[in-house]
């Protein structure tokens, strides 16, 4: 057989074919790459956006590899999570936000020997944390899609010991169990998260 053109490139490209563009449901040890505090606008909560990459296991450097392989002009780092800051207004919703926030703080403290939360979120950069990925269903432009994202943080030892619960499907924007993703799904049952969804979530 005659060698075809661009053999080396085609061979390399084939390595990435079929590779999911999303992190599968499961637990991961991650390293924080960047932390950004965003002031809440129009009465919304302040939020901390963390960018991370997988630090251990089969999916190590998943987001860096994905970022490097992305040829789009305005590519975004996909490994992100948003932590809402309590408003301290005594509301029931705020109490839930406080608990959620403390879950992150505890996960950081439990995952990094000697680290204590001191209200300086920028110190999270380079820390390790456990992250549990789960499915989220939503409706985008009338179409139901399912993608994976961080559902909750955990101590890294819990992840390493497989001592965590896989989360249930999270439903947003009117997504329900009768919603079918068959039209929008790719081969692996998921869809690429459109950029506007990524925007809506963390960065």
């Amino acid at each position: 057989m005659k060698q075809f053109n661009n053999w080396e490139k085609a061979k390399e490209d084939a390595r990435h074919m079929g590779a999911s563009s999303q992190l599968p449901v499961g637990g991961y040890v991650a390293k924080i790459k960047d932390v950004r505090f965003e002031k809440g606008q129009d009465g919304n909560s302040d939020r901390i956006v963390v960018a991370f990459d997988i630090a251990e296991g089969d999916y190590k450097d998943f987001f860096q590899t994905q970022f490097n392989n992305n040829t789009s002009e305005d590519k975004k780092w996909k490994g992100k999570a948003t932590i809402y800051c309590p408003k301290d207004d005594g509301s029931e919703k705020d109490q839930w936000t406080q608990k959620s926030f403390m879950r992150w703080v505890n996960a950081f403290e439990d995952s990094n020997s000697g680290y204590k939360w001191d209200w300086v979120e920028s110190k999270w950069k380079s820390l390790l944390i456990g992250l549990v990925y789960g499915e989220t269903g939503t409706i985008i432009e009338g179409k139901p899609i399912v993608y994976t994202e961080v559902h909750y943080p955990a101590a890294i030892e819990s992840i390493r010991n497989n001592d965590f619960k896989l989360p249930k499907l999270k439903k947003k924007n009117g997504y329900d169990d009768s919603s079918s993703t068959s039209d929008a799904s790719s081969d692996n049952g998921f869809v690429n998260v459109p950029d506007n969804v990524a925007e809506e979530l963390p960065f």
Binding site: K33, D34, R36, A51, F67, K76, W77, F203
Partner: protein
Amino acid sequence: MTNFEIEACLQSMTVLVDPRENPKTDRYEQRVNSLSVPYRRQTLCYGDYTYNFTMPDGMELYPPSVTVSAPVIVERKMNLEELSSCFTQQRDRFQAEFKRASDNNAIIYLLVEDASWEKIIAGHYNTKFKPAAFIASLLGWSARYSIRLIFCKHEVSGKLIKELLYRELKQKLERGDYG
């Protein structure tokens, strides 16, 4: 810079507008409003528009008090009449401005509103500048000063100015021009 620092720099991008851009017109209002990023009027050594942004250390690239010699500028002309006047009555001033930019190795975008090659070739503008001379000047200057020429409708010039500056800034950040 990391890709996260680059993203933060791009998110902080603002536009500097030279004070010679007349603010008392509807078109000006429409233009600066469609930039879709904050803008500030600040003296530029050459050109009408350039970018500014906040560096990772929290400092602005160009503090408010400085006169800016920018590496990328957009020189805007409101129509072919204004452009032809720059090549005729105001040629010396126009040339001096482009030379300053060129001497500083600046990337120059010449954005001419409500213009097209077809209009120039057909002489559809209200001056006595001959089409052949107009084309010769425009292309001659483009070659001499490496001008990137853009024609557009005035309704979209604000959006284009912002996009041009954003793309140039992004390239420079990714190339490491700002550390």
